[in-house]
């Protein structure tokens, strides 16, 4: 693990630290509102997969990339997408299946994409984004383009074939890509360690010749530091790297999952011990920031996302004619019905 600014205490870059806290607060608030929309308001009809407790990974990694760099994410990708720069209102509309959603209401939570901010898609199939991300990086190499690709996947993804195929490919072709295993310790509703042979994610990446790093994924300063170093090396032609960020999923697999399969106090203990937002607040307090300033960041994020949900709920459903649009140009269903 790298020596971070956080552990050096007085060297804390307070502007960056505040910006990281703000992003984590916004992600948390967005997902809390999304869960309310699902459970209280019954406005989210499909499944959503919250990343509450994992915000440091999204905020820390995304502060290291440029707006035009690429991101490929997972079914648990609200945080990554927001941190990449997507508009929360367009995202919330997408979760509610409304017009003006990132994908016009056609994708929902699991297929959010915002190509305007380089976000090339969440994915409903675990591990599938790994080879696609390698392809985006391959295209950068073909086009001699300096943009880099970040591919975030969960710990469950390392047990599917595309993990091996995609990492091997990235190394063989020396592609500009950072693979991030966001390890929340659960593969859907089963502990990943019970289903994984060998020494895990980083060891597998190392076996394929990738430079690998392991980081406390609940400590946003450390994530941000190491991601910045990785991205700088990758952008200057250093080839693919692998970051294993160990965190914890506070909720169940979906917002509807009570997570009865794990010890009752596991999530509570994690919250008390390692909540990334609390940790960042403590760090900023130690660096001399007023509690009132930190509280204001929290309140503003809460207010922003409450407003976002309210506005999204008032948005109309998509025009029914769009159901047949954007399937394909040649042999499209619109032509079929003529």
């Amino acid at each position: 693990m790298s020596k971070s600014r956080a552990t050096r205490g007085s060297n804390l870059d307070s502007d960056r630290a505040l910006s990281l806290l703000t992003m984590m607060e916004r992600i948390r608030a967005f997902e809390e509102q999304a869960c309310l929309a699902a459970e209280r308001d019954k406005l989210v009809l499909g499944a959503i997969h919250p990343s509450i407790g994992q915000e440091a990974v999204a905020a820390g990694i995304m502060q290291a990339v440029n707006p035009d760099d690429f991101l490929l994410s997972t079914h648990r990708g609200h945080g990554h997408t927001l941190a990449k720069g997507a508009e929360p209102l367009a995202m919330m509309r997408e979760l509610l299946g409304r017009a003006g959603g990132c994908c016009g209401g056609k994708g929902g939570s699991m297929h959010i994409a915002d190509f305007n901010v380089g976000m090339l898609g969440a994915n409903g199939v675990v591990s599938a984004n790994i080879t696609i991300a390698a392809g985006a990086a391959h295209s950068m190499k073909l086009q001699r383009d300096s943009r880099v690709v970040v591919c975030i996947f969960g710990d469950g993804a390392i047990n599917r074939g595309p993990f091996l195929e995609g990492l091997n490919w990235a190394k063989v072709f020396d592609l500009p890509i950072l693979f991030v295993c966001e390890d929340n310790q659960y593969s859907a509703t089963t502990r990943t360690s019970a289903m994984t042979a060998g020494d895990g994610a980083a060891a597998r990446a190392r076996a394929l010749g990738l430079v690998d790093h392991t980081v406390d994924g609940n400590q946003v300063e450390e994530v941000a530091d190491i991601a910045t170093q990785c991205i700088n090396r990758i952008r200057s032609g250093g080839g693919p790297e692998f970051l294993h960020a160990i965190t914890y999923r506070r909720t169940g697999h979906t917002s509807f999952d009570p997570a009865a399969y794990r010890p009752a106090d596991e999530a509570v203990q994690h919250e008390q011990r390692a909540d990334p937002i609390n940790r960042q607040r403590e760090l900023l307090t130690l660096a001399g920031k007023d509690k009132s300033e930190l509280d204001r960041i929290h309140t503003q994020a809460q207010q922003e996302m409450t407003d976002v949900l309210q506005q999204a709920a008032q948005s109309p459903f998509p025009d029914p004619a769009l159901a047949l649009k954007d399937v394909q140009d040649i042999g499209s269903p619109e032509q079929e019905l003529r």
């Binding site: 599938a128 080879t131 985006a136 295209s139």
Partner: protein
């Protein structure tokens, strides 16, 4: 016009497309040495190792990488070596490539061609011989092409590379060496069938190499005064309903023949469409002639038992003209 074979025609289509657009690149196993059937011969020397790219034996990665590259501005041509191996990349093709544009609300196009060599060829047995075209016609988002001549392999591959939809491009292994005149200026539009021969007594609809067999059968039948119209669909999605319905309305009889398994084959779609739109024109029951729902063997005599031959097509037509209603293939 130039004389070339089916394989050379595809190579020329790629060469012309790569000269026209620097974003076109090819990726697949063994492409550097010209591809497993020589379809890429000479292209590495001309375009370099980045644009004619070798790949590990990682079909899922080849397909997934191609998708990612297409979303980031490239125009990939994917080589799957044998169509059977494309099944290792089914998630990438069916769940990802076919759906990316729609799921993401039209934010991207996937201009990608996936070449899958199909068909029975030289005792290749059950895992190197399949024709699975009907599977892909069932997947919204995909265009499905089945060229059967050198001219079509040139024009259709060029059209496939130029279009912004993902195209599953199914080439028959048995006809790599088939020669014919190719006109580079001839443009293809998907959904256009070709009428191989005009006739008045019966319409035979086919595609891929089976269309060549149907044409041979039609020539033999013509010697006996039976006038057969052979329609080669060329693309199965979209497909030329107008040509088929117009022809059946004229001839009053329909035989659909294909190399793939008859049950659940695309022939069923053709027959059902004719039943919906031109049943009143039929003078005799329609007939399908495809393979039995059996596996393809190694031993040549066993391999022959699932092959749809020129003779079988000829006999089916004679039966139908004579008013026989026995089924060609009890499946």
């Amino acid at each position: 016009m130039a004389l070339m074979n089916y394989s050379q025609a595809s190579r020329e289509a790629i060469r012309d497309a790569m000269h026209a657009d620097e974003n076109v690149w090819c990726v697949g196993e063994d492409l550097g040495r010209g591809g497993v059937f020589g379809q890429y011969k000479g292209l590495r020397e001309e375009f370099g190792e980045q644009r004619i790219s070798d790949a590990p034996i990682s079909e899922a990665a080849i397909m997934g990488v191609a998708l990612g590259s297409a979303m980031a501005g490239s125009r990939p041509v994917v080589e799957m070596r044998f169509s059977d191996f494309a099944l290792c990349a089914t998630d990438e093709l069916v769940n990802q490539i076919a759906k990316a544009r729609y799921m993401f609300g039209g934010q991207c196009r996937v201009p990608l061609v996936s070449r899958h060599p199909i068909g029975i060829w030289r005792s290749s047995a059950a895992q190197h011989s399949q024709s699975l075209e009907s599977w892909y016609t069932h997947i919204p988002g995909l265009v499905v092409a089945c060229p059967a001549t050198p001219q079509d392999n040139y024009s259709m591959l060029k059209a496939a590379i130029a279009c912004d939809d993902p195209v599953v491009y199914l080439e028959h292994k048995n006809i790599w060496a088939m020669e014919g005149e190719v006109d580079r200026e001839l443009e293809y539009q998907f959904g256009q069938a070709s009428t191989r021969c005009r006739g008045d007594d019966i319409t035979v609809v086919s595609w891929s190499d089976a269309a060549n067999r149907a044409e041979s059968a039609a020539r033999r039948l013509a010697e006996d005064g039976i006038s057969v119209e052979v329609i080669d669909l060329r693309s199965l999605w979209p497909w030329d309903r107008t040509a088929v319905i117009e022809s059946v309305r004229r001839t009053g009889r329909l035989l659909v023949t294909h190399e793939s398994v008859q049950a659940g084959g695309f022939g069923a779609e053709v027959v059902a469409t004719v039943a919906e739109h031109a049943a009143d024109a039929l003078q005799s029951p329609v007939r399908r002639l495809g393979a039995p729902r059996a596996l393809i063997s190694y031993a040549p005599n066993l391999e022959d038992t699932v092959r749809v031959t020129t003779e079988m097509i000829e006999n089916s037509v004679r039966d139908m003209i004579a008013g026989q209603t026995t089924r060609a293939n009890k499946t």
